[in-house]
Each structure stands twice: as structure tokens, then as C-alpha cells.
């Protein structure tokens, strides 16, 4: 895929059917579409476009025997420009584009600046020979027709496609933040928190710096530390368990359900019983706990909504209620997931999510959020977020963090949240297409979604015995894949001191040795999904 910026003359040639140039321009436009190249227009060209197009339309209409006033021609030009631009991307004019009055051709100089900003290998499509001579990125429609299509590849996650749709609002919001200058805890943060809480059905939302801080902060608020145990899944990203160890507490891993890959509620009960009764042989436990279970207190459970699928919260909350444990839902991948008609964010005592760029709701850097209905917890989290502040940040009630969500990231998330419900629908449609397409492929296991759940489909992950061979074959077919997660946390070197050994979490170990994820994003076309499905079938021919 190449980026192609159109000069005014190119557009006017097509709109006003200007001979002989129109033919090359039409061919070049068709070539761009066929190659999958992204076509751009520079917003600074708008006035020249409409006035030049109007003039030419006035001329061509005169050939049909009618005489348009300039106002009428301008109206027609705008109608035709509306049609032409409905399928192009608008490239913003920036402040540096104003510094061109010492140039021989200020308008050309602006286009050169714009195409350079677009990307070093972007092309400026023009028939202006002078511009072609002066700008290395400028190319005539004829020369462009000689270029071969770029390699057609499927994106694992396509943030560009989303940006193409949301660009006007994203750029406006970024610009707004630059103008009001409240880079820390600006109005966008509060606006986002309100909208996120409403979406999730939670009383409070606290925007934080990243998904890891989001997990760490509630544990800090609960005062979890040395001697405390927190139960969690071994089949997750390290951050889930890392925060437990960071506070000096001990993670206790509980194996997963073999169909959902989420923590198994029945095994949570088994692990608790093993600890509380001292029958430490009944469930694999950290060495220190095995040795002296009385020295530890179970404080919390962290279920993970893996790949976007909510964990089984009813039995988890029941176990937690029975043993007076706090449930912190790690919904880093699961924001937008639904469990028994309720969105994640309202299913546990507190829920965290991550806005890492590749997440279903992602920003353009790091970001995260915590949801809760507990006012007292929300207060503590708000304090911990800014160095344990009280009345202000120089009044420090507790040890806290520097964990604020950037205003800029909140500004980026606001338009993304607007399109999030529609994106979730697309993700579900794409997941259904994968599942339907792969239904007859007996060598793989497609994701299982319990009837009471809707996944946010952060990932579409399949299990296959010969993973490496399949991945290699898919790569050859231009299908990217990724492994989430190739090693269970209880076997990670970082947790060696816990004393877990291979075989302690058999389901997690088996799945981590055979699972991999397929391309998944809301802008994946049906054609691309079919291509992936066909490529998978071909692996078994």
C-alpha cells in the first residue's frame, strides 16, 4: 500500500473531463484503487480546487449550449467535488504550510511539505512538469501507471483503517488540547471518565496511565502486601501477576477452564481450601505457602477476561463472597465484553482495562482505567493516582503513584469510544465468519463462547497441535499470526521463586503450547477473512 497525494490539476482534469489529460488521470485513479493505494487530498488545496473546477465546469457546460453564471458553476463544482472526495483521505494543512510566501510557487511548496509529512515514500501525483522536476516524490500519472502494486498483506491489527475514518475528529481533539494547554488532567480526562463509566455501567471510572497501573492501584488501595495471597490465572500477560509481586504479596496460580481459557472458578475453591485447611498437597501452591500456610492471608482474586471473553463472574463472586475476598477483574482485553447482559466494568468489585494501542479500545500510547461502584475505593484510587494526594498534590495522605491518564490520550479515546459500539459489532461479525469458515477444519479448535457471554474479541485465538508449522505456512500466505501466551506465568523465570514446576497447571501449559491468534480488527473485510480461512485449510492439504 502506497500513499498517493493528488495535485489540483489531477482532480480538475477528471472532474471537468479535460482533454487529453483526463484519460491518464482516470487510469491512474483506477490503478491506485486496484493497487490498494491510499489516495489523499491536501486540505490546503480546497479553495483552488473549487474555483478552478468551477471555471472549467462553466467552460464545458458552455459547449452544451448553456451559459452558467459563476455562482451556478461553483455550485456544480462543489457537488462534483463532494462526489470525488467521498472516497479520499484528507491530509491536514499545518502551521508550517503558511511559511511559503518566499517560494516561487507557494501552493506547490505547500504540497511538497504535505507529501513529505505524509511519509518519505508517499507520492505526489501531478502533471506539473516543474513540480516533478523539483520534488523527488512527485510523479506523473503515466509514470505512476508503471508502478507495480505493493504486496497485498493482511494486517494483524489495522489502526490505520480506523484512523482513516476517525481522522477529522482525532486531529480536532489533538489540536484542541494543544490550544487549551491543560496537558495534565485536562477536561478531556473527566469527559472520558464519565462516558466510560456510563458505557460500562459503573458508578466511577478513574483514568490512569496504563493497564498495569490500573491493576496495581486497587491492590495498593486495599493495602495488599507481604503475607497476602492473591489468586489469579497463569494464562495471561505478566502484568496481571506482576503487580501482586511488586507489592510484596504472593500470587497463587489457579488453572484455567479448558474451553474458555479463563480462570476456573471450581479450582479457585480448591486452591482456597488447600490453603485454609493446610492440605497443601491438594492443590499446587507457591513453595512458601506450602511450607507455612498459616503465615498467609488470602485477600483477592484477579480473574482475566482473556482475549475479550468475560470470566465466569457469578461463581467467582460467589466464592469471593463466601471467603470475603476482593475481586479485581483484569479486563485489559475485555472492555466491551458482556456477561449475562452486563458489560465488563460492572461485574466485579473493581475492574481494570488497558488502552494500549492494539486493544479493542486503544489510544496512541499508554492508558488505562479502573471501574468501581465503591465510592470509598474510588476516592482512594483518585488519591493514589496523584502521589497519594489529599486536598492537593502537596498534601500527601498515602504513598501513591504518578499514574494519571494523559489529556492527549483521553482526547484521542473520545472519538474512538464513539465508534466503539459499532466496532464491537464488526469484531463479532468477523469472529462469527472465522468460526463458520473453520467449522469443518477438524485439526483446530476455534474459540468457545458460553451462551451467557459476548466477547469483545480482542483476539481470535485457535488451538492446533502443530502450531509452528501452521504459523510458518500462514506467514508464507501473507497471514500474520501471534502467540498469546507461549509460556504460562507459573513457569516464567520471573516467578521462579514461587517454586511452581511443570505439570502444576496442566491445562494452561497445554493451551500455551498450542494456541495462536489470527488477524482481528473491526476493519477486516470478508474477503480477507475468507483468505485467512482458505490459508488455514491449505495448511492441512
Amino acid at each position: 500500500m502506497r500513499n498517493v497525494l493528488l495535485d489540483v490539476n489531477f482532480v480538475v482534469d477528471i472532474i471537468s473531463k479535460r482533454m487529453p489529460f483526463v484519460l491518464d488521470a482516470v487510469k491512474a485513479l483506477a490503478h491506485a484503487r486496484a493497487c490498494g493505494d491510499k489516495v489523499w487530498l491536501y486540505t490546503g488545496s480546497v479553495q483552488t480546487l473549487e474555483y478552478t473546477a468551477a471555471r472549467e465546469i462553466k467552460r464545458i457546460v458552455a459547449l452544451t449550449g448553456q451559459n452558467l453564471t459563476f455562482k451556478e458553476a461553483l455550485k456544480k463544482a462543489r457537488e462534483k467535488l463532494q462526489i470525488f472526495t467521498s472516497d479520499v483521505n484528507w491530509l491536514a494543512a499545518l502551521a508550517e504550510d503558511g511559511l511559503v510566501f518566499d517560494e516561487v510557487e507557494p501552493e506547490d511548496a505547500q504540497l511538497v511539505l504535505a507529501v513529505r509529512r505524509l511519509s518519505p515514500d508517499a507520492l505526489l501525483l501531478t502533471r506539473d512538469q516543474k513540480l516533478i522536476g523539483e520534488c523527488q516524490q512527485a510523479i506523473s500519472p503515466n509514470e505512476y501507471l508503471l508502478l507495480q502494486p505493493g504486496k497485498d498483506s493482511i494486517a494483524f491489527v489495522d489502526l490505520d483503517a480506523q484512523q482513516d475514518i476517525l481522522r477529522p475528529q482525532l486531529e480536532t481533539n489533538i489540536h484542541k488540547v494543544m490550544r487549551h494547554g491543560q496537558y495534565i488532567m485536562g477536561p478531556e480526562v473527566q469527559e472520558l471518565e464519565g462516558k466510560l463509566a456510563e458505557f460500562a455501567g459503573a458508578e466511577y471510572c478513574i483514568g490512569v496511565a496504563n493497564g498495569t497501573d490500573a491493576l496495581l492501584m486497587p491492590l495498593m488501595a486495599l493495602g495488599i502486601g507481604p503475607g497476602d495471597l492473591v489468586l489469579t490465572t497463569p494464562f495471561t500477560f505478566i502484568a496481571t501477576a506482576e503487580v501482586i509481586s511488586l507489592l510484596g504479596a504472593t500470587p497463587v496460580f489457579v488453572d484455567i477452564d479448558e474451553r474458555t481459557y479463563n480462570i476456573d472458578p471450581q479450582q479457585i475453591e480448591l486452591a482456597i481450601q488447600a490453603i485454609q485447611t493446610g492440605n497443601t498437597e491438594h492443590y499446587p501452591l507457591p513453595a512458601a505457602v506450602k511450607k507455612n500456610p498459616e503465615a498467609f492471608t488470602i485477600k483477592a482474586i484477579i480473574p482475566v477476561d482473556l482475549f475479550g471473553l468475560p470470566a465466569d463472574y457469578d461463581p467467582i463472586m460467589a466464592v469471593a463472597g463466601k471467603h470475603d475476598l476482593f475481586v479485581l477483574a483484569d479486563s485489559a482485553q475485555g472492555f466491551g465484553g458482556v456477561y449475562r447482559g452486563r458489560f465488563t466494568g460492572s461485574l466485579a468489585h473493581a475492574t481494570t482495562t488497558s488502552f494500549f494501542p492494539a486493544k479493542p479500545l486503544g489510544c496512541y500510547g499508554d492508558g488505562g482505567a479502573i471501574f468501581t461502584d465503591d465510592a470509598s475505593l474510588a476516592d482512594k484510587l483518585t488519591s493514589i493516582r496523584v502521589h497519594g494526594k489529599g486536598e492537593d498534590k502537596y498534601d500527601n495522605l498515602r504513598i501513591g503513584l504518578n499514574a494519571r491518564l494523559d489529556t492527549m490520550q483521553a482526547a484521542i479515546l473520545l472519538p474512538k469510544l464513539e465508534s466503539f459500539p459499532s466496532e464491537l459489532k464488526h469484531r463479532r461479525r468477523i469472529a462469527a465468519s472465522y468460526t463458520e469458515g473453520l467449522a469443518n477444519c477438524n485439526s483446530i479448535i476455534t474459540p468457545f463462547t458460553p451462551e451467557c457471554c459476548q466477547s469483545a474479541w480482542a483476539q481470535y485465538s485457535i488451538v492446533a497441535g502443530n502450531r509452528e508449522k501452521i504459523q510458518k505456512s500462514l506467514k508464507k500466505s501473507g497471514v500474520p499470526t501471534a502467540i498469546y501466551y507461549g509460556r504460562s506465568l507459573h513457569l516464567q523465570p520471573a516467578f521462579k521463586s514461587l517454586g511452581y514446576v511443570e505439570g502444576d497447571m496442566p491445562i494452561s501449559e497445554r493451551i500455551s503450547g498450542s494456541i495462536f491468534s489470527l488477524p482481528m480488527h473491526p476493519y477486516l473485510t470478508e474477503k480477507a477473512v475468507c483468505g485467512v480461512v482458505d490459508a488455514i485449510y491449505n495448511c492441512f492439504l
Partner: protein, 102 residues
């Protein structure tokens, strides 16, 4: 021109489908002979016009499969502009003046 041939004789001929045929039978000495043909000015097609007509035919093919092009060119009734005279910035300035906006 006549110097090349000497005395000239006028003969009626018809041009049809790219071939010229004598209306009145004439026998020529050689198998290949340069002739001087008189063509009415009104029948001569400008080369550029022919080129543009060929392009127009090709554009119609593009428009057949392209809704956007059909919409863009609706109302032009097969007409097209001769863009051989360059306008460039002058066209824009000209247009601005015509608009009466500035």
C-alpha cells in the same frame, strides 16, 4: 506541385472505408503511381479532434463500470474540454475574478 507530373487530368474517385476507387475507369501505365487527390476542407477531421474522440470512447468504457465517473460527468452530454491550452494558476485567478468574491 503540377511540375512533378506535367499535365494533369481530373478523375472522379470515391473514398470509402479507407480505400479510394475510381468512378470512371482509368488505365494507368505503372502498378504503383503517386496521385494528387482533391479533398473538400469540410471533410477533413482535425487530428486532435480524432484523438479526443478516441479518448472519449475510452472514457465512456471507464464510466460504464464506475458510478463516480458517471456522476461526475453527468450533464456534460459527451462534451469535453480541450485542455491543450494550459491555464494553471491563471485559471484560478481568472475564476476568483469571475466569482466577484475578492
Amino acid at each position: 506541385m503540377a511540375d512533378k507530373w506535367g499535365a494533369l487530368m481530373e478523375v472522379r474517385a470515391v473514398y470509402e472505408g479507407g480505400e479510394i476507387t475510381f468512378v470512371d475507369p482509368v488505365k494507368l501505365k505503372h502498378s504503383r503511381v503517386d496521385l494528387l487527390i482533391v479533398v473538400p476542407d469540410s471533410e477533413v477531421l482535425d487530428n486532435r479532434e480524432a484523438e479526443y474522440q478516441a479518448i472519449e470512447a475510452e472514457l465512456q468504457q471507464f464510466a460504464k463500470d464506475n458510478d463516480m465517473l458517471r456522476k461526475l460527468w453527468s450533464g456534460f452530454d459527451g462534451k469535453y474540454l480541450d485542455g491543450s491550452a494550459e491555464f494553471g494558476r491563471e485559471a484560478f485567478v481568472d475564476a476568483l475574478e469571475m466569482s466577484g468574491k475578492y
